[in-house]
């Protein structure tokens, strides 16, 4: 039995989930300018991109890569096994497309076979693998 009472529910605090964490980290990277600089450099040319990807395979590069890996690790659902599957699929798919789609006489094919592009693709695959491994780290 009673008169109307008021109640103000304590603002329900929804725990930030993995995806929210991902957003925060991306935002920080973006705000710090680190990501921007890398990408601006990457924009210059494919040669520069290959160079940068090569640099990524250094100690300082790996550190940055680990940062990125943290982002993906924060997703929680991406494990190394899944990522490797995707990587294999990517490689398989690229290989398949090379043979099926790109006409043999086109310039693009030549460029595809050029050493810097090959190295770039190889580094990209390595990068994905590193991301996958890092996502398994208990620290992530």
């Amino acid at each position: 039995m009673g008169k109307a009472l008021q109640y103000r529910s304590p603002r329900t605090h929804i725990e930030p989930d993995a995806h929210m964490k991902l957003e925060l980290i991306l935002q920080r990277l973006s705000e710090s300018g680190a990501l921007d600089k890398i990408l601006l450099l990457l924009e210059r040319s494919s040669v520069a991109s290959a160079y940068l990807l090569e640099r990524a395979d250094t100690d300082s590069g790996r550190e940055r890569v680990t940062n990125v890996a943290q982002l993906l690790g924060a997703l929680g659902s991406i494990d190394a096994v899944r990522l490797k599957k995707v990587t294999s699929m990517l490689l398989g798919s690229v290989g398949e497309r090379r043979t099926q789609v790109v006409p043999p006489l086109r310039v693009t094919l030549k460029r595809l076979l050029s050493p810097e592009v090959k190295r770039g693709v190889a580094l990209l695959v390595d990068l994905l693998a590193v991301l996958g491994d890092a996502s398994q780290s208990p620290d992530v």
């Binding site: 109307a4 329900t12 990408l39 990457l42 798919s93 497309r97 595809l112 770039g120």
Partner: protein, 986 residues
């Protein structure tokens, strides 16, 4: 049934249906053909030029071809392939491919998938900007002209499926783009936010804002960073090939599958029963994606179902039980709260008997929860005092149908409404209250010649579109309907043989119609005789009639009788027991049908099995192991009276803001204050909860499993999308926990087990089981034991033992409250499109709140002139029960001394039910909300309009037949593929 024909596709013979669309046919036989603009529901649009095939040596668009037999179709033809590639190349001139960082890269992007499947290795025409800014003015979606391929799907959906007629493409402009109201920002247009355009967009030109930055692994990167990343990829494109880049984006799309969950569920707003996939990332709702498999709605939604879900993650959600201690509420554990409730229930039952307790279930809850609520009342406590909120809306319609045809549900399906030759809408603002059903009527009316008549007080959208709009005096629909029926009989324009073969009581019924002459109806209804005859003749000249009605009929003192008059009319005209016709009381809440179906009613056990039927009781008693109460219990309205009389001491109320939505709110509040135990179970601290002794935090539909039954008796499964927030629990679990605290041993582990028990005890649900409800599968009751359901009722006779319908004689006895010298205005009330009911869910969605921040009162232009009222004037509306202060909107939607006030209110100072009376429908006790006389005092002449200027009601629609692709073909820069465009033309 279409005739089988034989056609040849690339040299192989196939059987097809005569008249079948070629694209649909090729999809059915699994032959891949690109077709970007074609959509099975929208039909051919013919803009994308990617579906060329050769038919009997002629190059043709497959989307625009219907099979007639013996065709030789070549898909795998170089000429056709060349034309298709040219079409695709032109599309990519309008669409920048940056799939890996695109929110639409989710494996279902039609442009991406078509491009990928066509294996194009080089872009012929570079992407070019159209020179327009991205339009982000709409609260729920944004349009990026530079990504728009001008396929016109969105236009077709807006013009001819939703039929809001906002979107168009002006092909005469030097640079065409999609236009809103001919060229205003989307957010200031007539767009109602239904989301059809976004759903059908084949790329990312139209995107839900909730997806932006959220959908992909890399989409949250800021635009400043994203741009160089896209440029880099473009720079790499010639080197690595487009296919490698596509592979990367496809890999990224696969990765998204791990972070985005897609869960099928059913909308929790109105009774249409729209189903869709809910895309979520963690607790974040990314989007609602309707699919063609949705049995009630296919790809259609309204603004609430598509975008109105912010309430689920609202910070205002209740997450812990609360107990009243002195003058405040304190948080409690579940054990403590349930223990307290059980103890008090036991005390009241011991002291005053089981009938001193009442139980009110919710039409927001699932069928299983409604079943458990009535079981708790009957088996555990021992009372039939159990009801649900259909008492506030739909009980009169159910009564009218039970009286005449013996089954209280829509007689057909939504598809039957769409295929009817004529639709008559009475007392229903369908375009706002049941928007998706309205789309079916609007489409059939616009495209397929369906006749539309509307009987209503207000000139709402359906009235504006109608071939015949009749506006009788409030509360006189029964007279109009009876006069129309009498006219048809008197002039031998009725279905004589149907009446003779299928009905009883014709002679007595005809005698009862004697008073309803045209002259009498004209005088009582305030109508010209010619308009009554026009309606009758429109009906008699139609091959089939579907009647849609809602609260404008039911919420009257004679709501049951008027519903009965509708059913009488349908019987006399033979509009039952076949497809494309029938009775459609439009159920207001998502599960208002199911709440009654599953037994939360004082007079019926589940499946409308009467509590006074001994055989029925014995069946339930055997299953439940108790003796059940034998006489009808109290309904909601009677419970309030019983509280005042001291007979009802405890009330357990689930998911209903009864203190705001029951009529004569102050009287209801007074009753709450007298209760010894008031338990409110809800997701928010409602106005009703303020009076509670115990508040139990429940979970909304997205946080639980179960089933809902829509207006067409369709049972659909909802799946759990999110975990319950905080300590909230699904209602079925709370009821089980309370039953346990009261000593019952139910032991249900899943809602499926509850449904199995209900099906076992209820003949109309005999074949209902979760096995038959997976995915988008559904069942329309009655469902036979073998799982056969019933989309159309009465094909094997009406719902009485002798299978005959009853013509029910009626008399007209006026209304409960009419304007007089003091209370000189009639105040009509109801819903708005964008708010649901009192608005406790929809006010949590910012985009809705911004555009429609509060309730208001609509005042006619003539009354406004007479009283000096303007848009924004502050007025006080005073009834015999109370007063509210609201701002005015001057409009010709209402006429003369009619006012209209939406029932949503951001505060109870503006709640319509402060004004309404305790008068009810005589037969069912549904409040006569619509019989309300008020006086209006102008407090401030000047003020800000309660409807912001960017509300869609101020938009100017631009009706067109559709995309009008022929105008595109007439452009000087268009040449039909495979001819390539000249470079200079670009």
């Amino acid at each position: 049934m279409a005739k089988d024909i034989t056609v040849t596709v690339d040299g192989v013979e196939f059987t097809a249906n005569e008249g079948e669309n070629l694209v649909s046919f090729l999809r059915r036989i699994d032959v891949y053909l690109p077709s970007i603009c074609f959509n099975d529901i929208l039909g051919p649009i013919k803009t994308c030029d990617t579906c060329f095939v050769v038919i009997d040596d002629q190059l043709q668009r497959a989307c625009d071809y219907r099979l007639c037999g013996s065709e030789r179709i070549k898909v795998n033809d170089s000429h056709a392939a060349e034309a298709r590639e040219e079409g695709m190349q032109r599309i990519l001139e309008n669409h920048d491919l940056y799939c890996t960082v695109c929110e639409n890269n989710n494996g279902n992007c039609i442009v991406h998938n078509t491009f990928s499947a066509m294996e194009i290795s080089e872009l012929e025409y570079p992407h070019r900007t159209k020179g327009f800014e991205v339009d982000s003015s709409h609260p729920f979606y944004r349009y990026d002209p530079d990504q728009c391929i001008l396929c016109g799907r969105c236009v077709e959906a807006c013009q001819n499926l939703q039929v809001n007629e906002t979107l168009s493409i002006d092909w005469s402009q030097s640079q065409p783009r999609v236009l809103w109201d001919g060229g205003v920002p989307a957010g200031s247009s007539s767009c109602v936010g239904c989301g059809h355009c976004v759903t059908v967009c084949p790329c990312n030109a139209l995107m839900e804002k909730s997806m932006l930055g959220e959908a992909g692994l890399l989409t949250s990167i800021s635009a400043e960073v994203k741009k160089p990343l896209i440029s880099l990829t473009k720079a790499l494109e010639p080197a690595v090939g487009i296919s490698a880049i596509l592979s990367l984006s496809e890999a990224e799309a696969r990765l998204r599958e791990h972070q985005i969950r897609r869960t099928k569920t059913v909308c929790t707003y109105c009774g249409v029963g729209c189903s869709f996939e809910m895309w979520t990332k963690g607790r974040k709702i990314l989007k609602v994606e309707p699919t063609p498999e949705g049995p009630a709605n296919q790809i259609s939604t309204c603004v609430k179902g598509k975008f109105g879900w912010d309430y689920v993650n609202s910070e205002e959600r209740l997450t812990q039980p609360l107990i009243r201690r002195g003058d405040h509420f304190v948080e409690a554990s579940w054990e403590e709260a349930l223990g307290f409730v059980a103890k008090k229930i036991a005390e009241i039952k011991d002291h005053s008997g089981p009938d001193a307790l009442g139980f009110i279930s919710s039409s927001k809850c699932t069928n299983e929860e409604s079943y458990l609520m009535q079981k708790l009342a009957r088996q555990v406590v021992g009372t039939n005092n159990v009801d649900n909120c259909s008492r506030y809306c739909q009980s009169p319609a159910t009564m009218g149908l039970f009286r005449t045809v013996g089954v209280g549900g829509d007689s057909g399906s939504i598809s039957d409404i769409a295929s009817a030759d004529m639709v008559l809408i009475i007392g229903s603002n369908t375009a706002e209250s049941h928007p998706v059903i309205a789309t079916r009527v609007k489409r059939a009316h616009k495209l397929f010649g369906q006749k539309l008549a509307v009987v209503d007080l207000r000139r709402h959208e359906m009235a504006e579109r109608a071939d015949l709009f009749i506006s009788p005096k409030p509360g006189t629909d029964l007279v109009l309907l009876s006069a129309v029926t009498k006219y048809l009989i008197d002039n031998d324009l009725y279905a004589k043989s149907f009446v003779e073969e299928n009905t009883l009581g014709f002679d007595q019924y005809v005698k009862s119609l004697e008073p309803f002459s045209l002259d009498y109806a004209s005088e009582v209804c305030g109508l010209d005789i010619s308009s009554i005859i026009s309606l009758a003749e429109m009906i008699s000249s139609s091959s089939s009639l579907a009647v849609l009605w809602a609260m404008g009929v039911t919420q009257h003192q004679r709501g049951s009788d008027t519903s009965t008059a509708i059913s009488n009319l349908l019987l006399v005209t033979g509009n039952y027991a076949k497809k494309g016709c029938g009775a459609y009381p439009l159920r207001g809440h998502n599960n208002v049908q199911g709440a009654s179906d599953f037994g939360s009613m004082p007079n019926n056990l589940p499946g409308y099995q009467s509590v006074d039927d001994q055989e029925v009781r014995e069946r339930f008693e055997a299953a439940w192991g108790v003796e059940l109460p034998k006489t009808k219990g109290l309904d909601n309205h009677e419970m309030v009276d019983a509280i005042y009389e001291g007979k009802l001491r405890g009330l357990y109320l689930i998911g209903e803001d009864m203190g705001l939505v029951d009529s004569n709110a102050s009287f209801v509040h007074g009753a709450f204050e007298k209760l010894d135990l008031f338990v409110v179970q809800d997701i928010f601290f409602s106005d009703t909860a303020a009076y509670a002794d115990v508040i139990l935090p429940a979970s909304p539909s997205l946080e639980k499993e179960g089933t809902f039954t829509n207006t067409e008796r369709r049972i659909q499964k909802i799946n759990q999308v999110l975990s319950p927030l905080g300590q909230s629990r699904p209602d079925w679990q709370i009821i089980c926990d309370l039953a346990s605290a009261l000593g019952a041993k139910w032991n249900y582990e899943t809602p499926a087990e509850i449904m199995d028990e209900a099906a076992m005890l209820t003949p109309i649900f005999a074949g209902v089981s979760y096995d038959h409800l997976e995915g988008f599968s559904s069942l329309q009751w009655p469902v036979a034991k073998d799982g056969t359901d019933t989309p159309v009722l009465f094909l094997d006779g009406f719902g009485f033992e002798d299978k005959k319908a009853r013509l029910w004689p009626l008399v007209y006895e006026g209304v409960s409250e009419e304007p007089d010298d003091e209370y000189d205005l009639h105040l009509n009330n109801g819903r708005l499109l964008e708010h649901f009911h009192e608005g406790n869910m929809t006010y949590k969605t910012q985009g809705i709140k911004e555009r429609t921040p509060s309730t208001f009162v609509e005042v006619s232009t003539e009354l406004a002139k007479e009283r000096g009222v303007k848009d924004g004037s502050l007025v006080r509306l005073v009834s015999r029960r109370g007063a509210v202060k609201v701002r005015a909107v001057v409009t010709d939607r209402v006429q003369g001394k009619q006012l209209y006030m939406p029932m949503n209110s951001s505060s109870n100072e503006q709640a319509i039910n402060v004004l309404t009376s305790s008068h009810t429908d005589v037969a069912t006790h549904t409040p006569a909300y619509k019989e309300l006389a008020v006086k209006m005092e102008v407090l401030e002449k000047e003020g800000r309009s309660p409807l912001p200027r960017n509300n869609f009601r101020y938009g100017k629609r631009t009706p067109y037949p559709g995309v009008m692709v022929e105008k595109k073909w007439l452009r000087s820069d268009y040449v039909a593929p495979p001819v390539r465009r000249k470079k200079e033309v670009r």
